[in-house]
């Protein structure tokens, strides 16, 4: 079984985001970029399934700028076999990304597609579900556990209030939540090896996808800031402040 994994290049999660002065977007000039953390978990899960003999090949795919090659090479250093970069301007909308993935799913026929549940830049949490709808494959979102059992995937999902396990008939789409696994770090020899693994570059047009605008960003602002209050010296003072000043207990 082939596994297709989505990888997105995003701002490193440790970097403090700043909004551009003209409020057109956040400022990404000279900012450290990295693989979206949920995508790292997706790559790790696919590689583990290959190591367990469940998967035969792990293909990583990204829709984004030329620089996304870095993240694809990184994914191959972690154990993916080959990569597909669909070159596009930055900020491709989720539905257009889903259409590009749907075209590759059609061509490659993976038994499983594993994607991060959301990217930490746009925070949309849409693409995997959209891909499942477009390809008419069942979906298991926010997975904290994944077991392949014959022609079924058992997905334990993080839902409000606890966990829910569902069974999907393969081929299927799975999106990852934080606790699915702990991604490994790439070793130096693997990073070198990844440079020689195949990376195919395509355009949206090659896949027959026209990028349609559905959602326009009008403005990006910094959030309202909350100012620091006071420091109290003791538990007694804290309790009296909460009782008499804030009146919340």
């Amino acid at each position: 079984m082939k596994i297709l994994v989505g990888v997105k290049r995003v701002i490193d999660y440790n970097v403090k985001v700043r909004v551009k002065a003209d409020q057109s977007n956040v400022d990404l000039t000279n900012v450290k970029m990295a693989m979206n953390p949920f995508c790292e978990i997706a790559v790790e899960e696919a590689v583990r399934l290959k190591e367990a003999g469940v998967a035969s090949e792990v293909i990583v795919m990204s829709v984004g700028t030329t620089q996304s090659q870095e993240q694809l090479r990184n994914a191959m250093a972690l154990g993916a076999d080959r990569a597909i970069l669909v070159e596009a301007e930055s900020d491709v909308e989720p539905l257009n990304v889903a259409k590009a993935f749907a075209a590759v799913v059609e061509k490659e026929q993976p038994g499983l597609v594993i994607l991060g549940k959301q990217s930490i830049d746009s925070d949309n949490n849409q693409m995997g579900q959209m891909l499942a709808a477009l390809t008419k494959r069942p979906q298991g979102t926010f997975a904290s556990k994944l077991v392949i059992d014959g022609d079924k995937a058992l997905v334990t999902r993080e839902i409000d209030g606890g966990l829910r396990t569902i069974a999907l008939t393969l081929p299927a789409i799975v999106t990852t939540d934080l606790r699915l696994n702990e991604p490994r770090y790439a070793k130096l020899p693997d990073i070198m090896k990844a440079k020689r693994k195949p990376l195919e570059t395509l355009s949206l047009a090659d896949l027959g996808v026209t990028s349609k605008a559905h959602c326009r960003i009008d403005k990006v602002e910094a959030p309202a800031t909350r100012s620091a209050g006071i420091k109290v010296a003791s538990v007694d003072e804290l309790i009296s402040k909460l009782k008499d000043e804030a009146k919340v207990i």
Binding site: K16, V17, V19, V26, P94, L95, A98, I120, D121, S122, D123, N124, N125, Q126, M127, Q129, M130, A132, A133, K136, R137, P138, Q139, T141, F142, S144, E158, I159, D160, G161, G162, L163, R164, T165, I166, A167, L168, D177, L178, A213, H214, C215, R216, I217, D218, K219, V220, E221, A222, P223, R226, A228, I230, K231, V232, V235, I239, L242, A246, I249
Partner: protein, 310 residues
């Protein structure tokens, strides 16, 4: 122009986030119909029919919808979508699962997690874990929207007269996925997402066993228990207690953070709380920059002292 609001419920009552999403739908300004889907949901449909501002309730009562699986839910909403300009749902683990399917099947975009309605097609939403707020315009004729409940007041006003409840007999097919089991945390404490008081613990709590100290104070205050992502990642508590951009977004009257440093992603989930209390050993912890009351101290001293003195 009519809005279809998709209710969230537990088969007996509407969730409070549904009432917040109703407020958002009222700001959008259309006539509002509510879809209640599930199994044995007549009482929920009747309750929805008495909500002020709702002119029709659609009741889809069938086994297929019992666990709100994404495939049948998505198909149901698409089936009903023809007469609606806006399809709105409170943002939760169910709607996050099926709403993007609805958008894709209708070939339209979706705006997730709106925090403000500026007009019928323009909204605000947090991006970059709440470190930036985007104003976005949906360009498609049909608008698919999920609503961040903590950003909107609950619409609790009721009408004396219930509106019409229409039965939907469309049964979506669901042969590709099936429910197996649930492992829901049983708790006598209030629900984290809607609690008016929350006591949260972070990495500083040190272990799952030590969380008993956090729980003791929470129980004294009648509060829900929350946690930072660091505490969840360290395995102290389960993920459904996580407050933050990738967990629950909360806005209680009182939020107390113990041993939480205040990572950006945690602050994004709680900084709309009315009163924030932070207790941390590190006086430079970023959490103090958003706290109304900060106490520099050891949580292992402060928690028991506070619990005993309240």
């Amino acid at each position: 122009m009519t809005t279809l609001l998709i209710a969230e419920h537990n088969s007996s009552v509407l969730s409070s986030s549904t009432l917040s999403a109703l407020t958002a739908a009222q700001v959008i300004g259309n006539e509002i119909h509510v879809l209640v889907a599930g199994k044995n949901i007549e009482s929920v449909a009747d309750a929805a029919a008495r909500l002020s501002g709702v002119t029709k309730v659609l009741c889809a009562n069938a086994d297929t919808y019992e666990y709100a699986l994404a495939e049948p839910m998505g198909d149901l909403v698409v089936h009903l979508s023809a007469s609606y300009s806006h399809i709105v749902a409170p943002s939760n683990s169910e709607s996050k699962d099926f709403m993007p399917r609805v958008a894709a099947l209708l070939d339209v975009g979706q705006v997730s997690d709106i925090s403000a309605v500026l007009s019928a097609d323009q909204f605000k939403r947090p991006i970059y874990a709440g470190n930036a707020i985007a104003t976005v315009t949906l360009l498609d004729d049909k608008k698919v929207i999920t609503v961040r409940a903590s950003s909107f007041d609950k619409s609790t006003q009721q009408n004396d007269q219930a509106c019409v409840v229409e039965v939907v007999d469309f049964i979506a097919d669901s042969n590709l996925s099936s429910w197996q089991s649930d492992d829901i945390t049983e708790s006598a404490r209030p629900d984290l997402a809607s609690a008016s008081r929350i006591v949260s613990g972070g990495r500083g709590v040190g272990s799952g066993d030590n969380f008993a100290l956090v729980e003791a104070l929470a129980d004294k205050l009648g509060a829900a228990v929350g946690a930072s992502r660091a505490a969840v990642d360290a395995g102290f508590v389960s993920n459904d207690l996580q407050v933050g951009q990738t967990g629950k977004i909360v806005a209680p009257d009182l939020y107390m953070a113990f041993g939480i440093s205040g990572a950006i992603q945690h602050l994004a989930g709680m900084k709309d709380s009315k009163v924030i209390v932070a207790v941390n050993k590190d006086e430079d912890a970023p959490i103090f920059q958003v706290a109304d009351y900060g106490l520099v101290g050891d949580l292992f001293d402060v928690l028991p002292e506070m619990t005993s003195k309240l």
